[in-house]
């Protein structure tokens, strides 16, 4: 087979060739041809000097190893199953991507292509591709003229900025004036199909176009009239400090050293610090100079003086998709630039050149703070409506010869002659802007889009081109003043290009809202408008103007009701809100507030006054005293300061009742869910004494961990490659027909990784569209069992194990959908064990950060992470190591105690008894995780289990790089599943070819016998005896200590993530019991793959897994 010439596609100047979709060239290639094509690309990418050629080659390589080569290998029965070299994995974690690629390629050359090594190469190529692109963006950010000097300046004595004289003019009462910058946020009318990602604008500037509107906001129901949602305040201080306050995040700090300015994650002031650095007040070049902040301030503001900078967000929650944080950053940078003479005017709007500089600085600030936004996100700095477009790099640009497009886009403000004042008013009268309450991480989506565009994947690329046409349609509708047509276009965009490119842009919640809004308003519902990277947060509904007020009220009701229905299924961060909004025709705008009016925002005083009133009044600086006098006067006379006295009282005398009631309900919950306080105290003592902990989870270092022999496993992959074993299959079919098998799905978990610790019920998550509808994990599993049952004219009983977190929601949900009209019985098995999380020990935190493999982040993000770790260590120390973790919602303080208990719980809680009464023939249970989508009661595997004579048969899959957490091993010559926590050394795992899927075929009688129980014991319900038997069995299994990340939500959609300690006992450790015979079956990845992270979904859809899974389902 001829090797496809992929280099030609990458280097082609003809767009028709350059935009050839990769999949169209590779569809007929053999694995050998794919390997040869990879060799060509590898040589090309290491030699090419053009950034985008290199990046595309890297994405091509990643895609071939992720999708194309594994598919070929899976269909080639003799493909070898190889190991992933640990050394390469370490290199990958240390971000030494090129070296990792060399290591993996050497392994591939030695073993031939394998699924495992391809997964490692795919990851390495993909990360190197993103690293290459990110490096270029950063280089461009630094090389923007106006930013460069800040990197050169290394000593405070060289500081070239001076504070403007106006800010040093004290008022008669001794206080300094305040410079206040108010900035709108931005809405994107065209969605842009993510073309505003920097990489994409720089790759295909012609395709990067958006219509972006600056808006003021207010929240309906809180009496807020629209005003600029973000503001930044600056004044001179008589102390040589940088005093930073974030009113919205409730944080304030006095910085006295330069190192504190660069410590981004120490507190909630990272954005302010990034702004101060990006605005040149503390230029990035002085980081690590060992110089004094006071020297720098003396040079810039005057000897003994400092600066105070305050940020405030007007009740706009996180996840609004309105680029609040980028515009706040822009606002802060703008106020700092004005104050230091970097803008022509201290007050009023900015000049175009200055706005562009704010944009460049905001990019720098986002890079410094380790975050990143799209290039249109600073749009609020500009006035009104504007067209923002990517620009081809010309000879004068630093990007010239490196990328096709410039980093900085072009802004064209659309005047009233183009879009009339009447049209603007009509838009305001028809568009209802809401925040649906979901706050999700859009990072994975942005990566998906980047990859798809650079691969020129056919569907997505045509979607992108269609989106460009949509922009023209939006513009035309606006020019005509036809808002109804606009609604049609934005809906078409959402249904068409957006979801063609990223199916995950919508979700079940959004679909419900659209459906209900459409039903409520009929013909008067003109359209849905998606804001930002993901729906569920900021969204727009366009209605006939006469019904707008009604629509605002109705949508609030619809959203709140739908959220209540889905709150256990989807990660909501806050109660949905509806906004009032108006177009802001100023852009960012500053005023100098002097005299009596020179006060900070009201919320500032709730934060700062409590500590001031505790001081002797005479010890306060004169200007502080004068300010308090002004505040007292404003509290009486100024309506803006109306609630100040009350909020000051609240701050001074915090109410403690809510904390106490939270504690009470936690105790009640613990009691109700079988919390064993004696065991808890034992664990605490063991933790404190260091008898248990992350280090102690591991098997002894002398333990021999080896890969299993081929004879230790049964390779069932061949049965899925059309080499079916009809004998085993018919044994399985007969067993199914006799009603001997039931499925037990583990659904007790909250899906920590799935929602990053948000604590929802993963089983109920409508995670993917099948058959045109979003389906929950539960529905998927029932659909597979339904299919098997109907095929063999029977029904398969289905049990879902639950926990305190998931039982009630699942029960309620299944009742509401009538068990999805499942043919057989559906039972819930409620967990009977629960633990109370603890504050981790600093020792365990250190072990996790220092001894366990960690992904090194890029330079700036790593700094942020290290600063955060310092903060978490001191949090653990001050809270008390191994003390109870109670500072969160009660359900977030409790934890399930491991999946070992879930099956024995069936013995205790009567569910097995019920099953046995219903199906006395029951003989085999198939246990699996909720997120193992491809597992089903496969007759051949069942036949194999029945004939194997083993009590337990564990399904394993060939290991890929992402399959971490143990595997199938010979431990001191005995085959068993070893948990990752127990591996004596990290590298041991990489010597194992197979990864545990958790799916287990169980011989019921064998398992009962292991516990010393019989069917009669179960049916007679002697709970005490059963409980003792289970406890004895559990006692023979190890207890693992783990650190879990738990979210704590606060404010308006803000979230913190804390690592907390919990313990667990794990099911697969049963394979280590000598008297229990365990078997191990190698199954195809599509069957054993678990979906742990939403970022996996896209690949899962693209590699054919979703299609394969759907083929096993029968939907109703």
């Amino acid at each position: 087979m001829k090797t496809p010439d992929l280099v030609r596609i990458i280097t082609a100047t003809d767009p028709n060739v350059r935009d050839t979709p990769l999949e169209s060239v590779l569809s007929d290639c053999s694995s050998a041809a794919l390997v040869a094509a990879c060799e060509q690309l590898e040589t090309f990418r290491s030699e090419s000097e053009n950034l985008y050629e290199r990046a595309r080659a890297l994405f091509f390589l990643a895609a071939i190893h992720r999708f194309h080569l594994p598919a070929k290998l899976a269909s080639e029965p003799d493909a070898s199953k190889g190991l992933i070299p640990f050394h390469g994995y370490e290199q990958l974690l240390q971000r030494r991507f090129s070296e990792a690629i060399d290591t993996f390629r050497s392994q591939q050359n030695a073993d031939g292509p394998t699924d495992g090594v391809s997964s490692a190469l795919a990851a390495a190529y993909q990360r190197l591709a993103f690293q290459t692109l990110a490096d270029q963006v950063r280089r461009s950010v630094r090389s923007v003229r106006g930013n460069q000097w800040m990197f050169r300046m290394g000593h405070p004595e060289d500081h070239p900025l001076r504070i403007k004289a106006e800010l040093l003019q004290r008022g008669p009462d001794g206080t300094y004036p305040i410079l206040r910058e108010q900035t709108p946020v931005r809405m994107d009318l065209t969605h842009s199909a993510w073309s505003d990602i920097f990489f994409l604008g720089m790759d295909f500037p012609e395709g990067a176009r958006v219509i972006n509107v600056s808006v003021d906001l207010g929240v309906v129901g809180r009496g807020d009239t629209p005003k600029p949602p973000v503001s930044a305040w600056l004044r001179v201080l008589d102390e040589p400090v940088l005093r930073l306050t974030s009113v919205d995040l409730g944080a304030t700090a006095d910085l006295t050293s330069l190192s504190e300015v660069f410590d981004f994650a120490k507190d909630y002031l990272g954005l302010l610090k990034a702004a101060i650095i990006a605005a040149g007040i503390v230029p990035p070049g002085v980081e690590g100079s060992g110089q004094e902040l006071s020297t720098l301030l003396a040079r810039m503001v005057g000897v003994g003086r400092g600066l105070e900078i305050v940020s405030a967000v007007n009740n706009i929650p996180k996840g609004s998709r309105l680029a609040v944080s980028t515009n706040l950053l822009g606002s802060l940078i703008s106020v700092c630039m004005r104050a230091t003479g970097q803008a022509a005017s201290l007050t009023g709007p900015l000049l175009e050149s200055e706005r562009r500089m704010v944009l460049a600085r905001a990019l720098l600030g986002e890079w410094l703070g380790g975050s990143g936004g799209g290039w249109q996100d600073s749009g609020g700095v500009w006035p009104g409506m504007k067209l923002i477009e990517g620009v081809r790099a010309s000879e004068d640009d630093p990007e010239h010869g490196v990328s096709r497009g410039r980093l900085m886009p072009r802004h064209t403000v659309l005047g009233h002659d183009e879009i009339s004042a009447e049209t603007r008013a009509k838009l305001q009268n028809s568009l209802v802007v809401v925040h649906g309450g979901m706050a999700q991480n859009v990072g994975p989506i942005l990566e998906m889009v980047t990859e798809k565009y650079l691969l020129r994947s056919a569907r997505e690329w045509s979607g992108r081109k269609e989106a460009l046409g949509i922009l023209e349609d939006v513009l035309a509708a606006l020019r005509r003043g036809d808002i109804k047509a606009l609604g049609e276009v934005t809906t078409r965009n959402f249904r068409g290009p957006i979801q063609t490119i990223i199916p995950w842009a919508t979700n079940f919640y959004t679909e419900q809202l659209i459906q209900k809004a459409s039903k409520a308003f009929g013909e008067d519902f003109w359209g849905f408008w998606m804001l930002g990277g993901m729906s569920g947060g900021g969204m727009g509904f366009i209605v006939a103007p006469e019904r707008k007020k009604e629509a605002q009220e109705q949508l609030q009701i619809i959203m709140s009701q739908t959220k209540r229905e889905l709150q256990h299924a989807l990660p909501f961060a806050m109660e949905p809100v509806v906004f009032n909004y108006s177009i802001n025709e100023n852009g960012t705008f500053a005023e100098l507030i002097e005299g009596e009016q020179a006060l900070m925002p009201p919320g500032y005083y709730s934060l700062t006054v409590p500590s001031l009133v505790k001081q002797d009044r005479h010890s306060l600086p004169v200007c502080r005293r004068a300010e308090l006098d002004k505040l007292a006067s404003a509290a009486r006379l100024n309506p803006d300061f109306g609630g100040t006295v009350q909020s000051l009282f609240d701050a001074l005398l915090p109410r403690s009742q809510s904390g106490a009631s939270g504690r009470t309900s936690l105790e009640a919950l613990l009691h109700a869910n079988g919390f064993d306080s004696a065991q808890h105290e034992e664990i605490r003592a063991d933790l404190k004494e260091g008898r248990i902990g992350l280090a102690q989870n591991r098997l002894r270092a002398s333990t021999r961990i080896e890969d299993v022999l081929d004879s230790d496993v049964t390779d069932a992959t061949r049965w899925f490659n059309s080499q079916t074993d009809s004998k085993l299959e018919s044994i399985g079919i007969e067993s199914i027909k006799r009603g001997e098998v039931a499925v037990v799905t583990l659904a007790a978990g909250a899906g920590s990784r799935w929602t990053q610790g948000a604590g929802v019920c993963k089983a109920l998550h409508p995670f993917c569209k099948f058959g045109g509808k979003h389906r929950t994990f539960i529905e998927l599993h029932l659909a597979k069992s339904r299919s098997i049952g109907r095929r063999y004219q029977t029904s398969v009983p289905h049990v879902f194990t639950t926990s305190y977190l998931t039982h009630a929601p699942i029960a309620e949900f299944l009742a509401s959908v009538r068990n999805y009209d499942y043919d057989g019985s559906v039972a819930l098995s409620q967990g009977r064990n629960v633990g109370l999380r603890m504050v981790p020990t600093v020792r365990d935190l250190r072990f996790m950060w220092e001894e366990m493999p960690q992904q090194t982040l890029d330079e700036q993000q790593q700094k942020v992470r290290e600063s955060l770790r310092g903060a978490l260590s001191s949090w653990a120390a001050t809270q008390g190591e191994a003390s109870d973790y109670t500072d969160n919602l009660p359900l977030q303080c409790m934890h399930p105690v491991g999946h070992f208990f879930e099956l024995p719980n069936l013995f205790r809680n009567g569910v097995l008894a019920q099953l046995l009464r219903e199906r006395p023939t029951l003989k085999t249970l198939l246990l699996h995780n909720i997120d193992t989508c491809g597992v089903n009661v496969d007759p051949t595997l069942l036949g194999h289990h029945l004939t194997s004579g083993k009590c337990l048969n564990f399904e394993v899959i060939e290991r890929r790089l992402e399959d971490r957490g143990g595997g199938l091993a010979r431990v001191n010559a005995q085959p068993r599943i070893v948990e990752g926590l127990a591996m004596p050394r990290e590298e041991d795992e990489f010597g194992l070819r197979f990864y545990n899927t958790m799916s287990t075929w169980i011989d019921l009688d064998g398992l009962l016998a292991l516990c010393g129980l019989s069917r009669e014991d179960i049916l007679s319900g002697g709970e005490a005896r059963i409980t003792t038997a289970i406890r004895e069995l559990a006692g023979r299994l190890p207890t693992y200590v783990t650190l879990k990340e738990v979210k704590k939500r606060w404010g308006h959609g803000q979230e913190d993530v804390f690592p907390v300690t919990q313990f667990e006992k794990l099911w697969s450790d049963l394979s280590a019991l000598p008297e229990l015979e365990s078997g191990f079956i190698v199954v195809p990845r599509v069957r054993g793959q678990q979906l742990k992270d939403p970022a996996q979904l896209d690949g899962w859809l693209r590699d054919g897994s979703a299609e394969w899974v759907e083929s096993m389902c029968e939907w109703l």
Binding site: R145, G146, W149, P160, L161, G280
Partner: protein, 281 residues
């Protein structure tokens, strides 16, 4: 272009006493700063000197000028309305002719055989256009000076065609607008305090002053920027250094510079070395 007259401004609030300070010149003779400046001008072949002072300062300046006093014509700046206004105040004395402009609080030490003013006059004469003396200055000094952007005149070392002029720019602005090919990173062409200007500048200043109407101070820079937009305007990097005697230790630095380039160089160096050697810490 024939240049026969010079204008020295000394009316600024903070600079009125500076020209009266006494220093030891290169020739070892104690002189006032004003006398040193006057010598700079005279050696450039200019005989007519106009000095702008604050009302009431003429006697002190006359005394400070010593033997040169009879050559001077004084103009009083009626109101402290900025540097541009000070220059404009001398319009009648200057008439409709080009002039050399110097600031009274700067001293110049040339590293070439010709003194700084002479180097400038020589270029202005040969090029027949406005020329400002500039010095490549580190960006940390930008808050102190006006600065120009432009490009090198083909084949002329140190001579630039001026395209942009900004008064005390921020580094951000300077980096965007004042980059000059050939200068080291972070360096800009900042004014030296010495210009040769055509009479048109007086007209431009007059317009500025009318627009300001006494509400704000009028700088020279805006009018220079307008001048650059109308006619050929060059900037010359002189072989020499300027010393702002109004800065902290400015007078001391200027004195050292004069001494180290003059006849008492060895004596001063010996004194400095001795001082350093005897320093306790």
């Amino acid at each position: 272009m024939e240049i026969t007259q010079a204008l020295i401004t000394a009316a600024g609030e903070s600079q009125r006493r500076l020209p009266l300070q006494t220093l030891v010149d290169r020739d070892g003779t104690p002189k006032t700063a004003l006398q040193i400046l006057i010598e700079e001008v005279l050696q450039a072949g200019i005989e007519e000197i106009v000095i702008v002072v604050t009302p009431g300062d003429i006697p002190a300046f006359t005394q400070a000028a010593g033997a040169f006093a009879p050559r001077l014509r004084f103009v009083e700046q009626s109101h402290p309305l900025g540097y541009g206004h000070a220059v404009w105040s001398a319009r009648e004395s200057l008439g409709n002719a080009p002039f050399l402009l110097l600031v009274g609080d700067h001293l110049y030490v040339s590293s070439a055989s010709d003194r700084c003013a002479k180097q400038l006059i020589s270029v202005a004469r040969s090029e027949s256009c406005a020329v400002s003396a500039v010095q490549a200055t580190h960006e940390s000094k930008l808050p102190l000076y006006g600065a120009v952007g432009g490009r090198l005149e083909a084949g002329r070392r140190g001579l630039y065609q001026v395209s942009e002029i900004l008064e005390k720019p921020s580094p951000t602005e300077a980096e965007q607008r004042l980059i000059v090919p050939g200068l080291r990173a972070g360096h800009y062409l900042c004014f030296f305090g010495m210009h040769v200007l055509p009479p048109a500048i007086i007209t431009l200043l007059g317009e500025e002053i009318a627009a300001a109407n006494g509400k704000w101070k009028v700088h020279l820079t805006n009018s220079l920027a307008k001048l650059a937009g109308r006619e050929r305007y060059l900037a010359l990097e002189l072989q020499g250094r300027r010393y702002d005697i109004g800065l902290k230790y400015g007078l001391l630095t200027a004195q050292l510079a004069l001494a180290l380039s003059g006849k008492d160089r060895d004596e001063v160096l010996t004194g400095l070395a001795d001082m350093l050697a005897r320093r306790d810490s």
